[in-house]
Symmetry: C2
């Protein structure tokens, strides 16, 4: 969807244009006219003959010319009728400013639903309802009721909060930040962030996509669209509302650790979206992306006229894992030529407190020629002789003339005494930051984005599996009215997807158990088998490391005794005798179902690592091999799998395989609500992994 | 030290006052005169008869009246002579503005040292050299060469970077932040942050102490003074320069995990210092502390005219562990009376986009009466009808009239359209923040400080120990030219300080080992004993869990074989047979010596927790019982000691005991450079702890 006619339409009808100043219907009309819009504007209001000197129509049907976009500002209950007229007139896009829909409660939500259904039938795309409208500064058109028309720039912004948008536009005006397209989503009944990301992906007027979102409309689509768009241009999003719904009943490990915020985190990572924590961060990043080239590498040079801020910037680099450039001897020699003796020639370069603009200029000229420099941060404090404006000019001149395009940002620190310099820098598209730390953390975000952009996308692999088998197990469980699958059924599922499970057989008495154990060889594990018992450990239903027949006899009795004591009414089907896996690390792989994004996969080290440290990683299914590797690499305890102190590493490849098979399983069977493989035993490199135990809960 | 005559002296001599405008000696003189200083000012310059119309003296000795403070602006080499005259004149304080000292290299450092020694002899306290001077806005006096005299306020500020100070003063002027006393430390040859903290602790003009420091002069004093001053008023510090010196050779676990940044973190915690990461954070906090009362509790109410920012503030509360107030039904009923139907009556209270100032006013009046509210954050976005200035007035009026003094802060979000409101708020000492998140994180800092302030200080306990024994062991080692103590000597030290060690005895052959083992009972541990081997595990020098005589024989041989293979030249004294401690958790307690703060104690869980997760806590010795408990409670894996899944908790009390004894040991013997008890076995509650192994390195 290009949304071309939506953003810079040939003509606009304002349905509900009002005569009275201050009324929304009047403000929007005035804003369109006042924004310098070059298309035709038709005010529509049956009670008025003209609005502010423009001929008014009593219905859009009276307008002879074609209308590309309708902006609707009439009370909610009349909109349905007007939409019908829009359809008749062949209008493809409508912005519904009016409130009185979902935001007012159940009745309004129903009205909204009916309206959108109707619009779909008519083939009309709707923005809103209950929104502020749109602004396209390049067109130009201000079809919103915000008086602040931003200057023209390359940042496009979506806001799911109208009020926040007014703040941002006011702030942007004061800070002289330009925008391309600005959209207030309102109730997001039809046009959503997905449509806009898709449209802006190829919009030459948009270099950076930014958004304030309180939620996404379609999680899967969001990931699909964003991950493509973010390869073309940065997408920076604030997602607010971190509190998890928490209402869902969760019974698995994965379920307790998951939650909507984890899902958003995972989705943003997979989609290459840059997450900003605050609106300030959002525009710090956006400015830098919009104004400057991406850094080609990760080495940063700092130029300063004061030690303190230089140290601050250095600290920030270290905290962000950014390397300070080591200058070549050539660079050092050149700097030595003109910098005073007391100056620091090494990074950070201190041009000293009495530096005039020329010293900054020469230093910058030399430094950007050094091959070890990918980005420069220029710091300035207003000292007695400091020339803020001249230094700003010098920075721009050097960068403008340079053939080598490297990223430059500044932190001119102070108030009135650096105001002129900052204003010049902003005009010349050199992003200035209040404090050095913000410049550095923005650089870090740009570097990470550069990595993402050049990184290839990998397809999701499809394994050859036995889907029919899984289907039959789920059908059987459902037909028996059971949605929680115990270990034995879970084993069937795993086997169908070729995920290794240990040798195991159910014994119905101790003699049978002995026979099975003798067959598979000691040591073995005994586990209670009962459809009523999901947490076997909690009722004393597991004994591990049974070394011989005698121990087996005792353990068998112990389990039965303990289980009967804790759960006297449990229906016991027998005791599972299972091969004991040796030389292994315990990990956990889980699935939980997210409301927005669907099935989410979790990985972590088992036992206390997951329980106490919550050291786990999440991604949305399906995942590629690359993402599976990322998930494993992301946990803090990864060193334990890689082997500490010369220990043989664990078989990480086999974990990748299980993750991918789990991803396929849950993609094939979205009815899986929760699933844990806990533990997944991981053996030494080359020896594979085995699912020690598993549980599945499916939807009804 | 009160520094009274220093900050608001009766009279000042400017030694080196210059006739030429633009010269530092002239600027300082003009700044003092121009600042409205009411005392006498004597320009001193043998080459001038008058400076800008003021009679000039060729020497301070020519001045008839008393002089309280000398500001020295003459070249470094002449200062020594002038100091002599100051002494003769009975001057007690001098500010040396002049550069040419430590900052220029070895020669300058020597000059500085000589000068300070001389000043000490004369009883003259020195600020600087190489500094900007001081400002006391309450006095008023601007004895600095910064032209920006800040307005009067209650925040005092120390800067170890002169240039940063100029930035801060410029920024403060633009943002209308007032200051009390401002000090540029320069080379900090004499007067340091310690003197100033001590002086400002009781300064009625100072409500909040702030500082930018690149290091501290005397770590122990810093902690002692700060921890007292911070009980009276908040101290907020930026410590820059996080890169660890790293030059010291470290051989212990503790040593590799410690480092100057950890030491500063620990010291700041112990001293109750609030650490700010950026200069922006520093003054966000300072403003709030200076303008508002401390929140009495931790429950926050939010009032907003827009949903989005309300969610942002709520998220920020959750991220900071701050509770949102639950309003009483009375509050809800009262709000219901006047708020529109669509408004949200629950926290965050949404007064809606069309709210005028009166709606804010009434809402605030009701909310602050609720007993569940300890602080209020008022958010405002500039919508069509929003009254920024009137709302600001309303907020001030309500708070001003209210008998209940609770903390209030605002985030008026935007640019020009909220400028007037923000300016009014600032004037009325209601701190406004650009974004809601900053308001909330500042509240969190205030709440934490309130906890610190009311918390009692606990004394350090002194145990009855055998100091003589330790002394003799150290003497013996030193006399043998050894500074690294192995396990056996470390055992002696631990025993002297009554830290439990396992039963153990050295065997010189396998038969002796068998006899010892039989005596103490299996299982046992075998460990190589060699002065050359410090990392026993790395050379195969340890075997644990030896169950019987046969295993002991094998293990004995294995150890000898392995050790000889790895370290053929090691001098082997025997093999230690040690009791095997059962049912225990492994922890680690360590000591490292910090350059600034002296001995630092570390605690963490042993093994992979310390190696892979670096999950440890640090404090500066000596520590109180309360601090020992804090150290233990701070590690992320504390749940493992408290017992997961119904397990019996570990004996945390015994860890407290060992920490305190270690603290005493290292305080009594500062020559301990590094020490590890690794592992410290912790048994079940009530069963104590035992030092499984220990190593000590002492200074020469």
């Amino acid at each position: 969807m290009s949304l071309n006619d939506f953003f810079c339409p040939d003509s606009v009808a304002v349905i509900g244009a009002a005569r009275e100043e201050g009324k929304v219907g009047r403000t929007i009309f005035d804003n369109i006219i006042g924004s310098g819009y070059k298309g035709k504007v038709f005010p529509v209001n049956p009670k008025a003959s003209d609005i502010n000197g423009h001929k008014c129509f009593s219905s859009i049907l009276d307008v002879k010319q074609d209308i590309s976009l309708a902006v609707i500002v009439i009370p909610a209950k009349f909109i349905s009728k007007v939409l019908e007229e829009c359809s008749e007139k062949g209008i493809k896009y409508a912005i519904i400013i009016s409130a009185g829909f979902k935001e007012t409660g159940v009745k309004g939500a129903k009205r909204e639903k009916r309206l959108i259904e109707k619009a779909k039938d008519y083939g009309i795309r709707i923005l809103g309802p209950n929104c502020l409208g749109i602004i396209d500064a390049a067109c130009p058109i201000n079809a919103s009721f915000s008086a602040n028309m931003p200057s023209k720039g390359k940042i496009s912004f979506i806001s799911q909060s109208g009020a926040l948008l007014t703040s941002v536009l006011d702030w942007a005006k004061t800070s002289k930040i330009g925008f391309s397209k600005v959209v207030s989503l309102g109730n997001k009944a039809d046009i959503s962030e997905n449509d806009l990301f898709e449209a802006w992906k190829n919009d030459p007027q948009t270099d950076v996509i930014t958004a304030y979102l309180e939620g996404v409309t379609d999680g899967k689509e969001f990931i699909r669209i964003s991950s493509k768009a973010s390869k073309k241009k940065p997408i920076i999003v604030i997602k607010s509302g971190n509190t998890d719904a928490g209402a869902r009943a969760v019974s698995s490990h994965t379920g307790t650790l998951a939650g909507s915020n984890k899902a958003y985190e995972a989705a943003f990572k997979q989609a290459g979206i840059i997450r900003a924590d605050t609106i300030k961060e959002l525009f710090d990043y956006a400015k830098a992306f919009s104004y400057q080239p991406l850094p080609k590498g990760k080495k940063v040079a700092i130029i300063t006229n004061a030690g303190g801020p230089g140290i601050m910037a250095t600290d920030a680099c270290e905290n962000n894992g950014i390397q300070l450039s080591s200058f070549s001897t050539e660079t050092i020699d050149k700097l030595k030529c003109f910098l005073p003796e007391a100056a620091n020639l090494y990074n950070p370069v201190d041009v000293l407190g009495d530096a005039l603009s020329d010293r900054y200029k020469k230093a910058l000229e030399v430094i950007i020629q050094d091959n070890n420099v990918d980005a420069v941060v220029v710091l300035l404090t207003p000292q007695a002789m400091t020339e803020d404006l001249e230094t700003a000019r010098a920075i721009f001149d050097v960068m403008d003339k340079s053939e080598k395009k490297i990223t430059v940002m500044t932190s001119f620190m102070g108030g009135d005494e650096v105001k002129k310099g900052i204003s010049y820098l902003t005009k010349k598209r050199i992003p200035n930051f209040e404090i050095p730390e913000s410049a550095v953390s923005t650089l870090k975000v740009m570097m990470d984005y550069n990595d993402w952009r050049v990184e290839k996308s990998y397809p999701v692999i499809e394994f050859n599996v036995d889907e029919e088998k899984v289907k039959s197990v789920f059908d059987r469980c459902r037909s028996e009215g059971r949605l929680e699958l115990g270990e034995l059924e879970a084993r069937e599922i795993l086997e169908a997807y070729r995920i290794p499970v240990p040798k195991a057989e159910v014994a119905h008495d101790v003699e049978e158990a002995k026979k099975i154990a003798a067959g598979m060889g000691y040591p073995v594990v005994l586990k209670i088998v009962s459809p009523n018992i999901l947490h076997k450990t909690d009722v004393g239903g597991i004994k591990v490391g049974i070394e011989d027949e005698k121990e087996l006899e005792e353990s068998y009795d112990d389990i039965l005794f303990s289980v009967k004591r804790y759960m006297p009414d449990a229906n016991i089907s027998g005791i599972l005798v299972q091969e004991m896996v040796k030389d292994k690390k315990e990990t956990i792989i889980g699935i939980s179902d997210d409301l927005q994004f669907g099935p989410m996969i979790m990985f972590g080290l088992g036992g206390i690592y997951v329980e106490v440290l919550k050291d786990v990683s999440f991604r949305i299914a399906p995942i590629s091999e690359k993402i599976a590797r990322e998930m494993i690499g992301e946990i803090k305890t990864i060193k334990l799998l890689k082997g500490t102190r010369g220990e043989t590493p664990s078989d990480i490849e086999s974990i990748v395989d299980v993750l991918l098979r789990m991803s396929q399983l849950v993609t094939d069977f979205p009815e899986i609500m929760e699933m844990d493989i806990n533990p997944l035993f991981v053996m030494k490199r080359g020896e594979g992994s085995i699912a020690g135990d598993a549980r599945i809960r499916i939807g009804g």
